[in-house]
């Protein structure tokens, strides 16, 4: 096999160069933070299989590609972007192509809502908005997150003012074009819901072309007291893409966070969700669906930290494996000593449809308090032969029966996507994927 093209030092030097080129504004303190992050990255290096968190997920190929952190000279037709928009009306829209904000394609006028790009906020030296940057993620506990902090290029800053309740969703669309080939994109999002705010966010990662690139994303979500966010997330980049998402959630008292996420694309994708309760009464629900087909690796890591009493969390992740697909699932629930009356339940079900697929799943419970209700469950199995027989006796052929059952398996998660068009579209993608895997 090939050696990694770039060393940790090369990446760090590239990061330092990137920082040096930043326009000097009032954001000096942020520049310092980036330098610290670059240094931290040098210390941490890239993760390796000896680290428990990366035991099953190799980054060898990713490093061999030697994706460089640079800005792309994107060329795309507005139409190609617009055709990807959600079909229903939205309360606001932020569009990024190759990691950079596209003002003309975005829609940022909404009362009580700040919808802006990280670059513009940094250029304006808006310290108030940037204060929260890194408040949940820190400088980065692993190399990629630190590298993101050092070299973040742009991203969404969404702030919903206290008491504002949005009926329509906010769309956050991230597209990659041909110009991103060989690049490492470093988006960084910050989403803040103030007290009693309520919103729906639809966040999607799509490819306009099928070139190799690496998306190294960090997203921080700060939920104020009594706020409510329904987060719908789709990762559907092209099969050559590498995608790493690191989500950090902070929930204040009575805050409610509901996530539904689908990982359908990218050859290599990993999503880590860190959820931390910081005051009682908050609730967090995560639902996820992943499809791993030929040449795909899908990795989900959940880290649910019950740091305070009286919070509840529920996680339900389902996976379908076909061809030579590989899936990794790690769901950790930590209930700290003082977190009495915690309620946490996690479930992970996997459907293994191919001889060459592999699933490595590891739910974990770490319980340090006693008055809790916690559980987790994992299954790996196949389609029920009797159910197939039943459908076939009704005249469906083998493939139709299989597909129908798989869709039924997936629908529990898909139903949590509120947008009809999106749900239908995802259903269609899954149907097609199952069809190609059956013929493969």
């Amino acid at each position: 096999m090939n050696e990694p093209t770039l060393s940790v030092a090369d990446y760090q030097q590239a990061a330092e160069r990137h920082i040096d080129q930043l326009p000097l504004g009032d954001g000096l303190w942020l520049t310092d933070k980036r330098r610290v992050a670059a240094h931290r990255f040098r210390e941490l290096g890239f993760p390796n299989a000896r680290q428990e968190d990366w035991r099953y997920t190799s980054i060898k190929r990713l490093l061999e590609k030697g994706f460089v952190a640079d800005d792309a000279q994107s060329s795309f037709t507005p139409h190609s972007v617009k055709s990807q928009f959600l079909s229903e009306p939205v309360a606001g829209r932020l569009v990024f192509v190759d990691g950079l904000f596209q003002r003309e394609l975005s829609d940022t006028d909404q009362e009580g809502v700040q919808l802006s790009s990280l670059n513009s906020v940094m250029a304006a030296g808006d310290k108030a908005a940037l204060k929260a940057l890194g408040s949940l993620s820190g400088i980065g506990e692993q190399g990629f997150a630190a590298l993101n902090m050092a070299t973040m290029q742009d991203g969404a800053i969404i702030r919903i003012a206290a008491g504002v309740k949005l009926e329509q969703p906010i769309e956050l669309l991230h597209l990659t074009s041909r110009a991103a080939a060989g690049l490492s994109l470093r988006p960084r999002h910050l989403i803040i819901l103030e007290e009693d705010a309520s919103a729906t966010l639809v966040e999607r990662y799509l490819s306009l072309d099928d070139d190799e690139h690496f998306t190294n994303l960090v997203c921080e979500i700060v939920l104020g007291e009594g706020s409510n966010l329904h987060h719908q997330r789709v990762e559907q980049e092209n099969p050559q893409a590498y995608h790493l998402s690191e989500l950090y959630l902070g929930l204040q008292a009575q805050a409610e966070y509901r996530l539904v996420t689908a990982s359908l694309g990218a050859g290599w994708s990993r999503t880590k969700i860190n959820s931390r309760f910081s005051a009682p009464g908050a609730n967090c629900e995560l639902d996820g669906l992943y499809l791993a087909g030929d040449g795909q690796l899908v990795d989900y890591h959940l880290n649910i930290d019950h740091a305070v009493p009286g919070c509840s969390s529920r996680e339900n992740f389902k996976g379908i494996l076909t061809g030579q697909g590989r899936a990794v699932f790690d769901g950790r629930i930590l209930v700290r000593e003082q977190a009495q009356k915690s309620d946490a339940h996690l479930s992970n079900a996997n459907l293994m449809l191919s001889r060459h697929a592999e699933i490595d799943t590891k739910p974990q419970l770490e319980i340090l308090a006693d008055d809790v209700q916690c559980s987790h469950g994992t299954t790996v199995g196949q389609l029920d032969a009797e159910a197939i027989f039943y459908l076939r006796s009704r005249g469906l052929n083998m493939e139709q029966a299989r597909r129908l059952l798989c869709l039924g398996f997936a629908s529990e998660i898909l139903e949590r996507f509120e947008s009809d068009s999106l749900r239908e579209q995802l259903g269609e993608v899954i149907r097609q994927r199952l069809e190609t895997s059956a013929h493969a």
Binding site: E52, E337, Q340, N350, M352, L353, S354, R355, A357, E358, I359, D360, T361, K362, P363, Q364, L365, E366, I367, L368, A369, D370, D371, V372, Q373, C374, S375, H376, G377, T378, T379, V380, G381, Q382
Partner: protein
């Protein structure tokens, strides 16, 4: 709302009733470990040259290894040079009957409630009592010999059955398997060897009581059980140790081999000194136990009740290599005081139609820390492999912890693997219900705990099941009942 804390604490602090030191003259090597010590051990046991070579190779390899640190247990670093690696009661001789055994030794067993002669007469259990590191009393040899069963100490087996030892020893847990297994391979003092010939159903339950008696003596037991084709054996291992203020290291290795259609049932009740309520002293129990279902339709089941030791660190595992082979793991682990347990199992599904069941019950009280760590692995050739895992944790008091770390690795699409785990405290509704029926709080909790562990206890041979229930009641006296 449960018991008030003060009452709870008072009740929890039941003393270790098996804590006493027997004064017996013993022949102990000075602390320290080097090649000389390994040679001495081998020489004292009149071992053949090939055994010494093996020990030395294991020792040399061990020196290149690092102590593992991945588990959730914590302890001060162990100074391997401050441990004495060999201790044997001086009055060692070929004893023909129990009358020849040191009366003081027999008295020790009686205090523990294991009167050998009584068991001999009543229970029909052959007891190979290991007092420190050398077997001093072996009973029922004749009737076992009649059936062709070999049941003897490991040192004897090395001398008498070298071909079996050379063929099987270290084939399940290699001398380089892990840090503690390598240490054991280098310095193991003694242990038990069992061979059940083809088609023989062992006429009685075999049992060894381990005792650690000599202060500062690490105990390095080595057990090897071979069940030849079509045979059956049930083996009981029970442990108690006297009260002691210094940590004692125990690094045993147990290997089970089941050939075609053979079944091995291995049951453990472990009640070594857990340290006092401030977390001082207690046994470090770092054990490697592994069973190899080598033949088709072979069956190995591990049942364990772990109430003792300051630290328990063991994962009785099954290599399910044969077609239709079955692996089982039933465990109750109790931690109180400052006890730590990191235990679980590994089920490697390699053969077609292999099945495994895991039932693990963890109970934590006071500052106890209890972790289930397990692996279910299904290799690509293991058609129709089946696993069901159930791990439940019960928490008593708000300073204890319970962790569950199951690893599931599946590479075959016909596999069905299920894992479930729950963690909660004794339900107040259940308590209320029992109290309302006139049960005292203690009895109510005891009843609930026993119900919680029932699935595991019912797997134990009857005498053991009774002992285990008593042990649990004593261990958790007051913590819960």
């Amino acid at each position: 709302m449960g018991l008030p804390d003060s009452r709870m604490d008072e009740l929890i602090q039941s003393d270790y009733t098996q804590g006493f030191v027997t004064q017996i003259e013993s022949d102990t090597l000075p602390p320290g470990l080097n090649e000389g010590v390994v040679r001495t051990i081998s020489a004292r046991k009149d071992e053949p040259e090939w055994m010494l070579k093996r020990r030395l190779a294991a020792y040399r390899f061990w020196r290149t290894m690092k102590e593992p640190n991945w588990s959730s247990i914590h302890h001060p670093p162990i100074d391997y040079q401050s441990i004495s690696y060999y201790s044997s009661p001086k009055k060692k001789a070929d004893l023909k009957s129990l009358d020849e055994v040191d009366p003081e030794l027999l008295a020790t067993y009686e205090k523990l409630g294991i009167p050998i002669d009584e068991q001999k007469a009543l229970a029909g259990v052959a007891v190979d009592a290991v007092f420190d590191s050398v077997s001093v009393a072996t009973t029922f040899r004749e009737s076992l010999a009649e059936a062709g069963v070999i049941f003897c100490s490991m040192s004897e087996a090395i001398r008498e059955y070298p071909e079996l030892i050379q063929k099987y020893l270290g084939t399940v847990v290699s001398d380089r398997d892990n840090f503690f297994a390598a240490l054991n391979a280098a310095v193991f003092s003694d242990g038990t060897f069992v061979y059940i010939p083809k088609g023989v159903r062992c006429p009685m339950e075999l049992s060894t009581y381990f005792r650690i008696n000599e202060a500062k003596t690490g105990q390095f037991e080595r057990t090897l059980i071979i069940a030849d084709a079509g045979s059956y054996v049930s083996y009981l291992e029970g442990c108690t140790a006297p009260m002691r203020d210094e940590n004692q290291l125990h690094a045993a290795v147990v290997e089970l081999i089941a050939l075609e259609d053979a079944q091995i049932k291995y049951s453990t009740v472990q009640n070594w000194y857990p340290g006092d309520n401030e977390g001082r002293g207690g046994i470090y129990n770092f054990v490697t136990k592994r069973g190899d279902c080598r033949g088709d339709r072979s069956h190995i089941s591990w049942t364990q009740v772990e109430t003792g030791s300051a630290i328990t660190w063991k994962y009785p595992s099954c290599l399910l290599r044969g077609k239709d082979s079955v692996g089982e793991f039933y465990s109750v682990a109790v931690t109180k005081g400052y006890q730590q347990a990191d235990t679980g199992t590994k089920m490697y599904h390699i053969g077609k139609n292999s099945r495994s069941t895991i039932v693990s019950k963890g109970i934590s009280a006071m500052h106890g820390s209890n972790a289930y760590r397990g692996l279910v692995s299904v290799a690509s050739g293991a058609e129709n492999a089946r696993n069901h895992t159930q791990c439940d944790s019960l928490l008593i008091g708000d300073h204890c912890t319970a962790h569950t770390f199951p690893y599931i690795e599946v590479r075959n699409p016909t596999a069905r693997v299920e894992h479930e785990a729950t963690t909660s405290k004794v339900s107040e509704d259940q308590l209320f219900y029992c109290r309302q029926r006139g049960l005292s709080e203690e009895d109510a909790v005891s009843m609930i705990i026993n119900g919680f562990c029932k699935e595991v206890f019912k797997e134990l041979p009857m005498e053991f099941a009774v002992e285990a229930q008593k042990l649990l009641a004593v261990s958790l006296e007051g913590a819960v009942g």
